[in-house]
Structure formats: structure tokens, C-alpha cells
């Protein structure tokens, strides 16, 4: 029964996708969207039942079908519903369903909504394969599947070639990560002879004789995959471009679910990363650098979706710090809270963009709290949550990360300081966003209007979630509620002993709140009194503003370092090496034969004069030879 539910959870959205693609090709947004939302909702229901089953009986549901059994490889279509899946599948199907419903309102003027909803359902299915897969290759099926859906959805409005290109960029950069993922799989297969999560975990936990160097290599390459999917330095450039997709897609795929797949991968493989100290340090360093880097860029962006995109990159950096220092359950906690408040922020942005007929520049907004009351209130909650104000969800999860960065097995003061600075920047750019959009006077020319209930209800639900899900992971230090999340995840991800540090958890919280308030205060100082002057009020710290506006010219750098050489070299291969070298060499014998023929044609000219000349010359030569002998 439970096995059936598990398969239904994965397959119902796939079925919805097929039905939409086959039967509702001319359906209205309401019809196609209802079908897709129903499929998503049923999947959510199945997830709820499975969770209830897991929480009440503790029984892990397994489904296995043979996939590839060759030589030493015995690979199954294995699906597994365990603690970590409880968390992930609820987030994916729950938030997924809300975003499906929201999309009915958002996509109300689409000529071919069936495509959108079919892709969205397909995405949900692939994402569920990703989080339920019992071994790395099955996870990889979902991993690339969500990548394909992301490609299709970013380029959903393909008639704008820039949007199609953004999709292509996303897929190709993800493929670079995927190549690393594959190498990681191959290495782990070499080491363990299996790539099944449970079997590998048993071997690592039970054996001290493994070659740590090889394990570290494998962990490193898996992390390369995570860097691609979760947009970490240096593979982050696709995510801001991915904002070309419809906003619900940005909310679901590029904020709440798909981009956290890298975090999920590292957490799922926590047993491996736990015994790979060098790679763990690397993960934490990359995460911290990304958190700071992306947050700094977010402070200077004007496109509402770009601000949120860089914010997502930055928040993912936070999660990777947690993973790097060994606090896997904390990273997953932040995955969950972030999914709520970031999905909410994106949907709010979507409501605003929809209500302003496509306007995305925050400098042309302002005063929208009057026109978008529901959006305003819900966004306030989300902004407070991401800034880390108690007692909202982001406060608990971010504080847990910052504290773990200090006290985790691989943590240290530098990471703590880096994340604190990133938190300051986060509070600043989110408040800037908030003040510019909702306060002051309206600076645009559209007629702002809020969307219907299909759009408002998901906002409200997500706002409640953003406010309360933090209580599931209350820190032990507060002694208010037990840390339910930790209790849930204990059997699946490695725990850790907090090291002694110069701050206690309570002190760290106080510092974090102070940091957040400082960031908000700075933003209020610059933007609240006179948002009409909007971005002109930004601190013009000489070159810094230019650098940040141009995102450190990373895209341009990659263009020069990778794209241009690739185009050049492939051009050389196609236009010089292939025709002029290889083909010429292959054709050389035939050219030789033809040249020889031409030469012989010349001799056999048919001209008697020529023949006579040859005869005469020959005769003279013979004569000379004969005479030479006589003379000497």
C-alpha cells in the first residue's frame, strides 16, 4: 500500500503532464491549470500520507525494480521514503501545489498554457524522483530531469531568443556540474562496488580501512555537481539569467526546490563528506564566498527578480556553509524555511509584475502597499524572515547556520564572521527592496492591481509557513520547544558535537539580531526618507557601485575565458582542420592519382610534332651516350 502511494506520488504529476500535453492542447489556463494543480495536490496528499506513516510507525518505504544489471553493477530503480525524504517531499509537493495554483492566475493570458502546466508537472515528477531516489543514478535521473524542465521553462517564452538562450545557458552550466556528478558516481562505484545510499553508508560507517584520499576525490566531484545545480561559485552565473522564465517558475524551481538539490545531495551523502575534512572545508569556503559575493551584488540590482535571484544564490551559500562545517540537519532546516519565504517573495514579485503589466524595475515601483495590501503584508513577513528577525522561520534557521559555522566540526571564527557580514548585507538589500517597492509614492505609469484569489491564497499560505516553520527547529539552547527537525533527521544525516566557542548560542542570537537590525537601519536611512530619489540615494562609494551593478563582470570574464576560445577552436576545427587537413589527407591519394594522370595526359598529347621532338631528343641522348663511350 505504502509502496503504491510512493509510486503514485512520483507518477501522478507525470500523468498530469502527459494528459495536459495530449488532451488539453487547446485548453484554457483555468482548465489546464486545474488539471495540473489537481495532479500536484494528489501528489501532496500522497506525500502527507507517507509522512504520517513514517512518523507514526518509523517504517521506511522502499520500492525497487531492476534497471541495469551488468557485470559488477546491479542498479535498481530504487525509491526510498525516509526521514530526509519526509522533509524534502513535503516541501516539494506542498509548495509545488501552491505555486501550481498561483500559476492559474499568473498565466491567465497565455495562448498555450498546456505547455507551461505540462512542464511544471513534469518538473514536479522529476524533482520527486530526485528526492526519493535510493541510489545516485536514480537521483541523477531526477537531477537531469529537473534540469531539462528548467531549460524548457526558462525558455518558455521562446519567441524571445534571449529567454531561450538563458535556458540554454542554464542547461549547459548544469551539465558541467553533471559531468562532475557522473565522475563522482564512477569513483564511488569503484570504491564501494555499489552506489546505493544505504549500502555506501553502511560501508563508510562500519569500516575504518577505506582510502580517505579516494573518498575525498569522490566527494569533491559530487560537490562539483552540487555547485552547478545550486549555483555556487564558480557555476552560479546561470541562475540570475534563469529569471527569464515565468515568475512562478522562478519561485518553484529557481528558489524553493531545484536549486536546493545540491544541498540535498551533500546532506544525503553526509556520511561521505563527514569523513572528507578537506572537501568539507572547501564546501564551507565556497559557500561563504558565494553568500558574500551574491549578497553584495544583490545590493545594487534594480530588477526585482534579479535581486531575489542573487539573494537565492547567497542563501544557498549559507546552506553550503552549514554542510561544509558538518551541520547537515541545519542546512536542511534552512532549505525548508528558505523554500517558504523565498517562494513567497517570488510569488509576491510575480503578483507585482503581473499587476504592473510586466514592470520589473524596483525604481519604477514605490508606494505599492496601498495597491497590493495582501502582497504587502505577506511580503513583510517574508522580508522579516529572511532578514532573520525573531521569531520568524528565517531567524531560527539562519541563526543555527551562523552558530554552526562557529561551532561545527569544521567550523571556525572566519566563517562565522563571513556569514555575519553576509547577514548584514542580506538585511540591507532585502530592506532596500522592501522600501523601494512598497513605500513612498508610486513612480510608474501602470495601473497597479492585485491578482485574484488564485494568486492571493498561495501568498497567505506561504506567509503562515514563513512565520511558523521555524518552530520545528528551535535551538536546544532556548529550552522552549524540542528541536523536532533534528530528532527527525538523526537516523539519516550525521549529527555533530558543538565545539566550545567564544559565544554561546544565546549570545550568537543576540549578535545576529543586532546585525539584522543594523542592516535594516542602514537601508531605512538611505531609502525610507525619500524613495522617490530611489537608487540615486545609494551610497556612491566610488567604483564599488559600478562593480556591483555589473556583477563583478563575471559573465564577461567567462565569455572571454571559455566561450570565445571554444568558438574559436571549434571554428578552427570545422573550417581548417576538418576540410584542409584531414579531408585533404584522405583525398591525397586521389589527388595524387589525378595529378599523375594529368602529367601523363601531357605526354600523350597526340601532337606529332611533340612526338618527333621527343624522338629526336631521345635519339640524341642515346647517340651522345654511345659517343661518350667511344671518346673515353
Amino acid at each position: 500500500m505504502m509502496e503504491f502511494l510512493l509510486l503514485s506520488m512520483i507518477l501522478i504529476p507525470l500523468l498530469g503532464s502527459i494528459l495536459n500535453g495530449l488532451l488539453l492542447r487547446s485548453g484554457s489556463p483555468a482548465r489546464t491549470g486545474t488539471l495540473a494543480s489537481t495532479a500536484a495536490g494528489l501528489s501532496f496528499l500522497a506525500a502527507l500520507l507517507l509522512c504520517w506513516n513514517y512518523l507514526s510507525t518509523g517504517q521506511i518505504v522502499n520500492v525497487n525494480f531492476e534497471w541495469l544489471r551488468v557485470g559488477g553493477l546491479n542498479l535498481a530503480w530504487g525509491f526510498r521514503f525516509d526521514a530526509i525524504t519526509v522533509l524534502m517531499s513535503l516541501v516539494v509537493t506542498g509548495i509545488g501545489t501552491l505555486i501550481h495554483i498561483f500559476s492559474i492566475g499568473y498565466m491567465d493570458e497565455e495562448p498555450t498554457p498546456y505547455r507551461f502546466f505540462a512542464y511544471l508537472n513534469l518538473f514536479l515528477s522529476a524533482m520527486l524522483i530526485l528526492v526519493t531516489g535510493a541510489n545516485l543514478p536514480v537521483m541523477f535521473v531526477g537531477w537531469e530531469g529537473v534540469g531539462l524542465c528548467s531549460y524548457l521553462l526558462i525558455g518558455y517564452w521562446y519567441e524571445d531568443i534571449k529567454k531561450a538562450d538563458a535556458g540554454m545557458k542554464a542547461f549547459v552550466i548544469n551539465r558541467i556540474g553533471d559531468a562532475g556528478f557522473l565522475i563522482g558516481i564512477f569513483m564511488l562505484f569503484q570504491i564501494f562496488g555499489t552506489v546505493d545510499f544505504e549500502s555506501m553508508k553502511l560501508i563508510v560507517d562500519g569500516s575504518g580501512s577505506l582510502n580517505v584520499r579516494w573518498l575525498q576525490f569522490a566527494a569533491f566531484f559530487l560537490f562539483v555537481g552540487a555547485m552547478g545545480k545550486s549555483a555556487q561559485i564558480p557555476l552560479f552565473t546561470w541562475l540570475p539569467d534563469a529569471m527569464a522564465g515565468p515568475t512562478p517558475v522562478s519561485a518553484l524551481i529557481h528558489a524553493a526546490t531545484m536549486v536546493t538539490a545540491g544541498v540535498y545531495l551533500v546532506a544525503r551523502m553526509g556520511f561521505l563528506f563527514r569523513v572528507s575534512p578537506d572537501v568539507s572545508h572547501f564546501v564551507a569556503t565556497i559557500g561563504c564566498a558565494t553568500a558574500l559575493f551574491a549578497a553584495s551584488i544583490a545590493t545594487a540590482q534594480r530588477d526585482i527578480k534579479k535581486i531575489l535571484a542573487y539573494s537565492t544564490v547567497s542563501q544557498l551559500g549559507f546552506m553550503f556553509v552549514a554542510l561544509g562545517v558538518g551541520a547537515y540537519s541545519v542546512a536542511l532546516f534552512h532549505v525548508m524555511t528558505h523554500a517558504f519565504f523565498k517562494a513567497l517573495l517570488f510569488l509576491a514579485a510575480g503578483t507585482i509584475i503581473h499587476g504592473l503589466h510586466g514592470e520589473q524595475d524596483v525604481c519604477k515601483m514605490g508606494g505599492l502597499r496601498k495597491h497590493f495590501p495582501v502582497t504587502f503584508i505577506t511580503t513583510s513577513i517574508a522580508v522579516a524572515a529572511i532578514c532573520g528577525l525573531p521569531p520568524l522561520s528565517g531567524f531560527f534557521s539562519k541563526d543555527a547556520i551562523v552558530f554552526a559555522a562557529l561551532t561545527g566540526p569544521y567550523g571556525g571564527p572566519y566563517l562565522w564572521a563571513g556569514l555575519s557580514l553576509a547577514s548584514l548585507l542580506t538585511a540591507f538589500y532585502m530592506s532596500r527592496f522592501y522600501f523601494l517597492v512598497f513605500f513612498g509614492e508610486y513612480r510608474g505609469n501602470a495601473h497597479p492591481h492585485e491578482g485574484g484569489w488564485a494568486m492571493k491564497l498561495p501568498l497567505m499560505d506561504l506567509a503562515i509557513g514563513s512565520a511558523v516553520v521555524g518552530f520545528l527547529g528551535m535551538p536546544h539552547g532556548l529550552h522552549v520547544l524540542p528541536n523536532y527537525l533534528d530528532q527527525l533527521l538523526v537516523p539519516t544525516v550525521p549529527g555533530w558535537e558543538e565545539a566550545h566557542a567564544f559565544l554561546t548560542e544565546i549570545q550568537s542570537m543576540v549578535v545576529a539580531v543586532a546585525v539584522a537590525l543594523t542592516g535594516i537601519a542602514i537601508a531605512a536611512f538611505f531609502y525610507l526618507p525619500n524613495p522617490a530619489r530611489s537608487d540615486k540615494a545609494a551610497p556612491k562609494l566610488l567604483a564599488i557601485d559600478t562593480i556591483l551593478k555589473n556583477k563583478y563582470w563575471v559573465d564577461e570574464l567567462y565569455e572571454v575565458v571559455f566561450v570565445v576560445p571554444f568558438r574559436f577552436l571549434s571554428g578552427v576545427a570545422a573550417r581548417i582542420i576538418d576540410p584542409r587537413v584531414i579531408d585533404a589527407a584522405v583525398l591525397f591519394p586521389s589527388r595524387l592519382a589525378r595529378a599523375g594522370g594529368t602529367l601523363l595526359t601531357f605526354i600523350q598529347s597526340g601532337s606529332s610534332q611533340f612526338y618527333l621532338w621527343i624522338m629526336l631528343t631521345g635519339g640524341l641522348l642515346v647517340l651522345w651516350q654511345a659517343l661518350k663511350g667511344l671518346i673515353v
Binding site: 500535453g21 492542447r25 525494480f65 531492476e66 534497471w67 541495469l68 544489471r69 551488468v70 557485470g71 559488477g72 553493477l73 530503480w77 498555450t112 543514478p137 541523477f140 535521473v141 537531477w143 537531469e144 530531469g145 531539462l148 531549460y151 524548457l152 525558455g155 521562446y158 519567441e159 524571445d160 531568443i161 531561450a164 538562450d165 540554454m168 542547461f171 549547459v172 551539465r175 558541467i176 553533471d178 559531468a179 557522473l182 565522475i183 558516481i185 564512477f186 569513483m187 562505484f189 569503484q190 571554444f566 577552436l569 571549434s570 571554428g571 576545427a573 570545422a574 573550417r575 576538418d578 584531414i582 579531408d583 589527407a585 584522405v586 583525398l587 591519394p589 586521389s590
Partner: protein
């Protein structure tokens, strides 16, 4: 003794004669009927094939041919040839359906396809080395005609180039065939032309000719012939020309089936007849395969002609197959076999789609397209779907083959795995580049606004291929099981030897 295999070989040849005699419209029906009957026979073969006994030849059929040299009309099937026979029988009706609108000398055109069917099936089924050679060469003739008579503007150049280069390789192979044939007579005192009887030849490794031993020369002669057909970098330059000029049906069969004759040949001849030489040369072959994987992808990316782009993508894909063969372990070998079928399905379907587009728009230039997704939604769906299969998106067939090949290659030599994986990245680059050029962007040009979407005949063909693309990606077990026994025996390099006592059999 079963007569199933001779039926599979002879039926198209007989139909070919009827085709030539029949009126034009009927000839198409005859060709389609014959190829569907062939597909039916392949279905029978699928159910009757004994997977547990796949290590030895099944459905053996033996008729005397040149008795004094023990040369026979011998047909048989094992796990190596099984998937390829099925593939060629499956692609045949699709290729004919793709040629349905041919108006120029239809009878001869259809006859060429049927002759090709006979020759390709015969090549995969022959158990006699001379019969193999005859079918191998026979396959060349109709294909050269298909390119040279029914091709595009540069067809004659392409056909002659195709013929000369392949034929040069075939002659080298003929020398090698005579060499092993005589060597067998010398070592055993009697003639045999049964392919498997050469697997037991022993060689004097001390004796060298121009620095190489006899088996090394034999290996190279076979390998050059097969690598031209595959085609392995740097022997590939005939392929883009032939593909661009060939009519759609010809391209489908060329890519889907004929290229596999090369990889099949390596597995059937090079590896088991001269295993030591294979061992010596396989690193070089693997290096060429890896260069081909990357080089093919890079050159594909630069093409302005969609068909040429797909042709170069084939160079990249067959590189994976050769890499899998070189790794020579169960994972990589199974992957290589699967990849032969996968490449046949996905590249065949790509050529089908490009052909459908060409029929409507009379252009293959990327610059003439753009935005077709709006005008041709079903075409767009299939193109994205097949491209996903071609670039190895998991859940579809391409992934299964590539995954096994790369896994096995990584086991054999980590560097092979590392470099091979790069090919996966570049595959995405050129495939998505193609999708971008054909499907995405504004629907600008007026000609493209009047195009019609796929008709039922085209949709049916692509759906049939699509079913297998999903099936092989999700549940390849039935196919792997049919090959397992053969491949297990094979990679241990202990092929079951059948010494045929011909007189008792007949």
C-alpha cells in the same frame, strides 16, 4: 535447422525483384510490405531467441557454396548480432516511410532499399567469413546508388568519395580475410571459412613483417576497414558529405544501421581473432575515440547545415561506442552494444525529422529556421524529445548506453572516463544549439509561417521510435538479458567455438 534467418535475408531480395517489375505506386507498397514482414520475422526472432544459450550461434543455417574450400552460405545469430538485426529490421519500414514522397525513379529507389535490407541483415547474420565479405560489399552498392542518384546537388562527389574510401578499406579487409583463411589451413591442415574457427588460431609472435607481427597486420587491416565504416576519427570525412547529400531514407539507414556494421565488425573479427593485437592497439583506438567524441561535438557545433550537424554528432556518438569496446569489460561492452541501438534510434529519428522539415521547407540551413516551435508544435515536441535522448538525458535510452560505457571506461582507465565525460557536456552544447536555431526565437520568415505540422505517417513512425527510446531508457533488461550470455563469454575472451562438421549437417 531453422529457415528463419535465410527468410530474413532472402525475402527483401525477392521483394526487390518484384519491386522492379511492379508499377511505381505498387512498388512502394511492396517495399513497405516486405519490410513490415521483415519486422514481423524479427518479432518472431525476438520471442524464439534463447537468451540463456546466447553464447553460441542460434538458428544456424548452412548451405554449401564453394565446397572445395569449405565455404558456406552460413547464417546464425548470437547476442552480438541479435540487437543489430532487430535494429535494422525496425529502421527499415521507417526509412521507407520517410521516402514515401519520392517521385524520381521510385521502383529503382525502393529496390535499392530492399537490396540494402538483404545486405545489412546478411552482414550481421553471416557466420562464414566470405559470405560476410560479400554482404559487406553488397551493402555498399545500393547505398552508393541511393546517394549518387537520389541525393542533393553534390551527390555524385559524395557518392564517389563514399565508395572509394569504404572500398579501399574493404580491400584491406579482403587481404586480411585471405591471410587468416590460409593461416587456418596451414595450422589445421584443412580449410574453414567459419568465422569462429579463426578465433583459435595461434600466431608466431616472433615473426615480424616490417616491424609488426602477422596478427598485428591482420588486426590493422580489419580495423582500418571497420573504422572507416564506423567512422572513427580521423577517417570520418566521407560521412558528413554522404549524409548531407543522401535522401532522408538513405541517411536514416546509413546512420542507424550501416555505421554499426563497423562496430559490429570490430567485435566479431578484430577482438577475438587477434586479441593480443587488440590489446596492443586498444589504447590508440581509445585515444582516437576520445578525440572523435570531442572533435565531432566541436565541429558539429559550427555547422550551418542541420543535417551536417547531426552527421558530426554521429562522429561524436560512435566515439563512445568504440571507447566502450576498447574498455572491454562487461559494463562498457554492454553499454557499447546498447549505444549502437540507441544511436540508431535517436540519430535515425533526428534524420527523419530533418527530412520531414526539408520536404516542407526545402532547406537545411539553420539560418532559414527559427521559431518553428510555434508553427509546428508536434515537430517541436519530437525534436526536443529525440535531442534529449541523443544528448543522454537519463530516463531515455541514450543515458543508459553512455552511462555504462563511461562507467566501464572509468574502470579500465580513469583518464578515459574523465575525457569521455567532457563529451557529455559538449553534446548538450551542440544539440541545444540546434534546437535554438530550429525551434526557438521569433517565427520571422514568411515561408516558415505556412509550414504544416507532422502528418499521421510521420507521427506514427516517430511514436514507434519514441516508444523504444523510453523503453530502453527505463527498462533495458529484456535487451540486456538477450545479450548477457554472449557478452559474458565474450569479455572473458572465451568465445564458444563451434567446429562445424559440414557433412553431418547437410
Amino acid at each position: 535447422m531453422s529457415t528463419l534467418l535465410p527468410w530474413m535475408v532472402v525475402l527483401p531480395a525477392v521483394a526487390c525483384l518484384f519491386c522492379l517489375a511492379a508499377p511505381e505506386r505498387l512498388s512502394k507498397v511492396i517495399a513497405m510490405g516486405s519490410s513490415l514482414a521483415g519486422l514481423l520475422l524479427a518479432g518472431v526472432l525476438y520471442t524464439e531467441f534463447d537468451a540463456s544459450n546466447a553464447a553460441s550461434m542460434q538458428f544456424l543455417y548452412l548451405a554449401p557454396w564453394i565446397s572445395q574450400y569449405q565455404i558456406h552460405f552460413g547464417l546464425g545469430i548470437d547476442g552480438l548480432s541479435f540487437p543489430l538485426v532487430l535494429l535494422s529490421k525496425f529502421m527499415m519500414p521507417i526509412a521507407i516511410a520517410a521516402s514515401w514522397n519520392q517521385t524520381h525513379r521510385v521502383r529503382a529507389f525502393m529496390a535499392c532499399f530492399l537490396l540494402l535490407d538483404t545486405a545489412m541483415t546478411g552482414t550481421f547474420l553471416a557466420t562464414d567469413i566470405f559470405l560476410f565479405y560479400v554482404f559487406w560489399e553488397l551493402a555498399l552498392i545500393p547505398m552508393v546508388l541511393i546517394v549518387g542518384v537520389w541525393g542533393s546537388s553534390e551527390r555524385v562527389y559524395a557518392a564517389v568519395k563514399f565508395f572509394l574510401i569504404t572500398f579501399a578499406g574493404s580491400l584491406l579487409m579482403l587481404v586480411a580475410i585471405f591471410w587468416v583463411f590460409m593461416a587456418h589451413q596451414e595450422q589445421y591442415g584443412f580449410y574453414s571459412a567459419e568465422i569462429r574457427s579463426f578465433y583459435t588460431l595461434s600466431w608466431n609472435h616472433g615473426l615480424t613483417y616490417f616491424g609488426l607481427t602477422a596478427p598485428e597486420w591482420i588486426f590493422l587491416a580489419f580495423a582500418v576497414a571497420f573504422c572507416i565504416k564506423i567512422p572513427l576519427f580521423p577517417l570520418h570525412t566521407w560521412l558528413p558529405d554522404a549524409h548531407t547529400q543522401a535522401p532522408t531514407g538513405g541517411s536514416i539507414l546509413l546512420a542507424a544501421v550501416m555505421l554499426k556494421m563497423g562496430t559490429y565488425g570490430i567485435l566479431r573479427f578484430c577482438v577475438p581473432i587477434t586479441p593480443d593485437a587488440f590489446h596492443t592497439f586498444s589504447p590508440y583506438l581509445a585515444a582516437l575515440a576520445l578525440v572523435g567524441i570531442l572533435y565531432g561535438a566541436w565541429v558539429a557545433f559550427q555547422q550551418a547545415d542541420v543535417k551536417k550537424l547531426v552527421a558530426y554528432s554521429s562522429v561524436s556518438h560512435v566515439g563512445f561506442i568504440v571507447l566502450g569496446i576498447c574498455a572491454m569489460n562487461p559494463e562498457a561492452l554492454t553499454g557499447a552494444m546498447l549505444q549502437m541501438v540507441n544511436h540508431g534510434l535517436s540519430t535515425g529519428a533526428l534524420f527523419f525529422l530533418i527530412g520531414a522539415l526539408y520536404e516542407r521547407r526545402h532547406s537545411r540551413q539553420l539560418s532559414d529556421f527559427g521559431g518553428l516551435a510555434k508553427q509546428l508544435p508536434w515537430f517541436a515536441f519530437f525534436l526536443v524529445f529525440v535531442s534529449a535522448s541523443s544528448m543522454g538525458v537519463p530516463g531515455l535510452n541514450g543515458f543508459v548506453g553512455e552511462f555504462l560505457i563511461l562507467l566501464g571506461s572509468f574502470k579500465a582507465n580513469a583518464i578515459w572516463g574523465f575525457v569521455g565525460v567532457l563529451g557529455v557536456i559538449f553534446a548538450a552544447v551542440y544539440m541545444l544549439w540546434m534546437l535554438r536555431g530550429v525551434l526557438w526565437g521569433p517565427l520571422a520568415s514568411e515561408e516558415n509561417k505556412s509550414l504544416t505540422d507532422l502528418n499521421w505517417r510521420e507521427t506514427a513512425c516517430l511514436t514507434a521510435v519514441g516508444i523504444f527510446i523510453v523503453w530502453l531508457g527505463v527498462y533495458p533488461k529484456p535487451f540486456i538479458d538477450k545479450m548477457r550470455a554472449t557478452l559474458e563469454a565474450y569479455w572473458k575472451q572465451e568465445p564458444t567455438i563451434i567446429t562445424l562438421k559440414v557433412d553431418e549437417n547437410l
